[in-house]
């Protein structure tokens, strides 16, 4: 795990979640026609790109380094889950043209920091 990247991704995910929640509260459906929703889409794409980079780097690190007792199966499970959650979440969010589409995106974005935290714990041989 690269700590700087993990922290940055956590911050970006929380920003995206907060942004989504603001859209829910102010009742702005994700249409991709307005600036606030386009901006959110850009942040989510950036986040997904960062997660993919993290997945590649973490995989290389795990294979390259001797991590002893580390739980590899769980670690790779979380790596796959954390890069999958945003595309699936975005697909499910776009299917609802009400404010609740943004709510779905908020849920997906909030799951990212949780999974990064679990990856960190496993990496530190604590999980």
């Amino acid at each position: 795990m690269i700590q700087v990247l993990a922290t940055a991704l956590t911050v970006v995910a929380l920003v995206a979640a907060l942004w989504s929640l603001v859209l829910v509260v102010t009742d702005r459906p994700i249409t991709l026609a307005t600036k606030p929703t386009l901006g959110l889409a850009a942040v989510v794409v950036l986040l997904e790109a960062g997660l993919l980079v993290q997945a590649v780097l973490a995989t290389v690190n795990v294979i390259g380094a001797d991590r002893g007792e580390m739980n590899r199966a769980t670690f790779f499970g979380y790596l796959i889950a954390v890069v999958s959650v945003l595309p699936v979440g975005a697909f499910w969010a776009m299917g609802d043209r009400s404010r609740w589409g943004a709510g779905v995106l908020a849920v997906a974005c909030l799951s990212v920091p949780v999974m990064i935290l679990r990856l960190d714990q496993i990496w530190a041989l604590r999980g």
Binding site: T74, W92, S98
Partner: protein, 141 residues
């Protein structure tokens, strides 16, 4: 009649229901993956806890599918009901008979390891099913 039940399924997976299904989906995948790893790698360490984890995973998968309208509404009620009973019974048992649970399940300590979301989720699921059902039956009058 088929038309009406399709509308009801559509209403159940729209609005707040869609967000609810998203949370259910995450729990379904998390619980399934976690329990698969537990059972495959060290089942003998805590057989009861891991069997319960696997059961919880199945319940979450069924509840997610049922709320999304893939299987019948009755199954959705059943899955949410079993889930609520499970989190309360396992939650209480994990406190009273702590020795029987050397490793945690999703439902241990009333879902405290997961921010108590497992306790809140079935309640929200049942309320949402009731609400969409009531709204739908009002259309008959």
């Amino acid at each position: 009649m088929a038309e009406r039940s399709r509308e009801l399924a559509e209403a159940t997976r729209s609005g707040p229901g869609r967000m609810l299904i998203a949370v259910y989906g995450i729990f379904a995948i998390a619980a399934t993956a976690r329990s698969a790893v537990q059972i495959a790698t060290h089942f003998e360490r805590a057989p009861l806890a891991y069997a319960l984890s696997a059961f919880a995973a199945v319940v979450y998968v069924v509840a997610t599918a049922a709320l999304a309208g893939v299987v019948s509404r009755r199954v959705a009620y059943l899955a949410c009901g079993v889930e609520l009973a499970g989190v309360i019974v396992v939650g209480a048992a994990s406190l009273v008979f702590a020795g029987a649970f050397p490793d945690a399940t999703v439902w241990s300590d009333f879902g405290g390891g997961y921010g108590f979301i497992p306790l809140v989720l079935p309640v929200l699921g049942l309320l949402w099913l009731r609400r969409t059902g009531l709204r739908n039956s009002e259309l008959d009058r």
